[in-house]
Symmetry: C2
Subunit: 389 residues, 2 copies
């Protein structure tokens, strides 16, 4: 299929672009290297080498004979987005193009504005250009399980029927996010849902949990094809950070009690979920919401898994509880549905000990490059920290 | 109290600014005349004379001896908003500063972008400047009953307790809006709710129904102090439009079946509701949501009221059903709660025949100025119309 990958330079975008090209899709990856600039700005660096996007596409071509077409540009620019959709005529637009870090979004007013303006502005541009230039294009939007927060009721897959005072209706599942980043995703869903109803767009909104992993069939071809692997407190997701801490001989830093439970998935499953959504498009006027994760863990569970994998490899792994910089429940109910993608055919890659060990091995190969000062949380969910920037 | 009126040149903002000044509050009205520019752009004009904001403040001072301080500027400009809050040190910020028209927001891509960027951008700037410059300031935000849409269950006042699979939790009442404008208000609420929880802001979000009226104690002092009274299809609310159609001898144009039911209020009650909210501020970390209307009517009910008032004044009033340009239910359940403002002490002004006749009389005084071509809906909720712009 003709797939436009928006945010094609990012952790998931690049891995998706290569996998789709390898699987015979016609891929155009678009990015303005925002993530790289933000990493530089706050002084953190992905663990594996990351040549520029065009260079990576060339390396991938040299190994595979498959082309990821690349286009550099800012998706905040309406005319640029319009031209993209007009010229490429995508059947699917995979929308990863957002500022993806919760801590970054609450660093200070400047970062908050960038997050809101970028994320909403890009989503709106994509919607308007699909309407004008490619009305049959299926928008596949990366949302987040964080849109739901941690309610005291079971989380359904996007929708809920509410019975109230003897009457019933169906609604978007109530959403209440714990960071500005997650809130922009709630707002994205609001925006998409209006345009789906008003102009019969076709949208799949994937409520994804935190992703982990370094290895995909394509990135394994060459270290320079690795996903953008951050392990720092701002852009690193927790599994990737814990494994890097273990490799560096640093304690795994658990925020607070560690009972925070989320749904996780391997980066290989992100690719497969997005492809399944693309190959099973929704009808015009439908907003399909799928909860995209394969298993749930508490932070303490993850620490145990990483410690066990580390010890099996001869590492001494300590776990340390530190003051929680976030505002979140540290013990809570969590029972989210996630049958939609399994029904579409997803075969999950679980976080087994061998998967954790495989990741550790790769990380150990870059041990010298690990910046040990990058683990400590530098962003606190407090007015004082927020205004200090 | 020290009240900053954001959007102080608009239909409600100007009336509020005068009333608050008359009642002894210290008022600064801020606006960049966006509404005037948009009216010019689409070729519509308010019925009553509207000197520039500074001039109106002078006229009001001449009549009343009370000062509405005025500041011209764009609230999209973060530095400007920051300076406002730093210098004026408001106790309350009344936030009317949004593009307020549903049809305008779905006219075309340019208008859609303006609506989203302006409404969200201003709300975000206000939040960030309150945090930085006036953390105790109470934000009183004008939301809309349209955030709820027309669900098949009773609408509560902002929140709902949901029991689901044997467990319970409280949530924002589910929202699903019928235009992009209304959707931006849903998104405003999402944004405010995050910042309230994260940084203990004090926010009242007033879910207001469509407002009608020309007369307030202060605007009655001089015709040039009239609120910005639009009667056209884009910026005019339905009661104001129907009364102007009656005065012009044109049929009242009912969209579709006319069973669309909403909660309405008199502009005098808007002023009183906002003042009640201001005089009863919420605690830090609280988002109070109040449904701001005094009675519900269907469009057919309103047509009957206006016809009756018109006939009593010797006008021949016809009612015509025309194709509904909007996407909305024309027959639906509607039972919204609205006890919060009554409990704070609101004494409603209902839409009695004498109120309708009083409005008609004022409108008849400007009969020659009515543009009869402005009534017909020029905006359709369709992809074709949207893209034609």
């Amino acid at each position: 299929m003709r797939a436009l990958i928006l945010g094609g330079d990012g952790y998931l975008g690049w891995a998706t672009a290569m996998a789709f090209a390898a699987r015979g899709h016609d891929v155009l990856a678009v990015d303005n290297a925002l993530r790289r600039r933000l990493c530089e700005e706050i002084g953190v660096r992905p663990l594996f080498p990351m040549p520029p996007l065009t260079k990576r596409a060339d390396i991938f071509f040299a190994h595979s004979g498959k082309r990821v077409a690349v286009c550099e540009g800012d998706l905040r620019d309406a005319a640029f987005v319009d031209a993209l959709f007009r010229d490429f005529e995508p059947e699917a637009a995979i929308h990863y193009a957002e500022q993806p870090s919760a801590p970054y979004s609450v660093m200070g007013p400047k970062e908050a504005r960038l997050t809101l303006d970028n994320n909403l502005g890009v989503t709106h541009n994509v919607i308007l250009s699909v309407l004008a230039r490619a009305p049959r294009c299926h928008i596949i939007k990366l949302g987040t399980m964080g849109e739901y927060g941690t309610p005291n009721i079971d989380i359904e897959e996007g929708w809920i029927e509410i019975e109230h005072k003897g009457r019933k209706d169906s609604f978007l599942f109530p959403r209440q996010a714990g960071s500005l980043y997650h809130t922009t995703k709630v707002m994205d869903t609001d925006l998409l849902w209006f345009y789906v109803r008003a102009y019969s767009l076709r949208v799949t909104d994937l409520m994804q949990g935190p992703v982990y992993g370094i290895s995909t069939d394509e990135s394994d071809l060459d270290e320079r094809l690795s996903p953008c692997f951050n392990y720092d407190d701002v852009f690193g997701t927790v599994v990737n950070r814990f494994l890097t801490q273990a490799a560096a001989g640093e304690p795994l830093t658990v925020y607070g009690k560690g009972g925070q439970t989320r749904g996780y998935l391997n980066i290989r499953d992100t690719i497969n979920c997005v492809e399944l959504a693309m190959q099973n498009p929704v009808a015009p006027g439908e907003l399909r919401i799928l909860n995209q994760f394969t298993e749930t863990f508490s932070v303490n569970d993850l620490a145990r898994i990483v410690r066990k994998a580390g010890r099996a490899m001869g590492l001494s792994v300590k776990v340390e509880s530190i003051e929680n910089p976030r505002r979140e429940l540290e013990e809570h109910h969590y029972n989210p549905a996630h049958s939609g993608l399994l029904e579409l055919g997803l075969k999950p890659h679980f976080l087994t000990q061998s998967v954790a060990e495989g990741m550790l091995e790769k990380i150990l190969g870059r041990r010298e490059a690990i910046d040990r000062s990058a683990f400590k949380p530098r962003v606190k969910w407090s007015r004082e920290t927020f205004l200090k920037r």
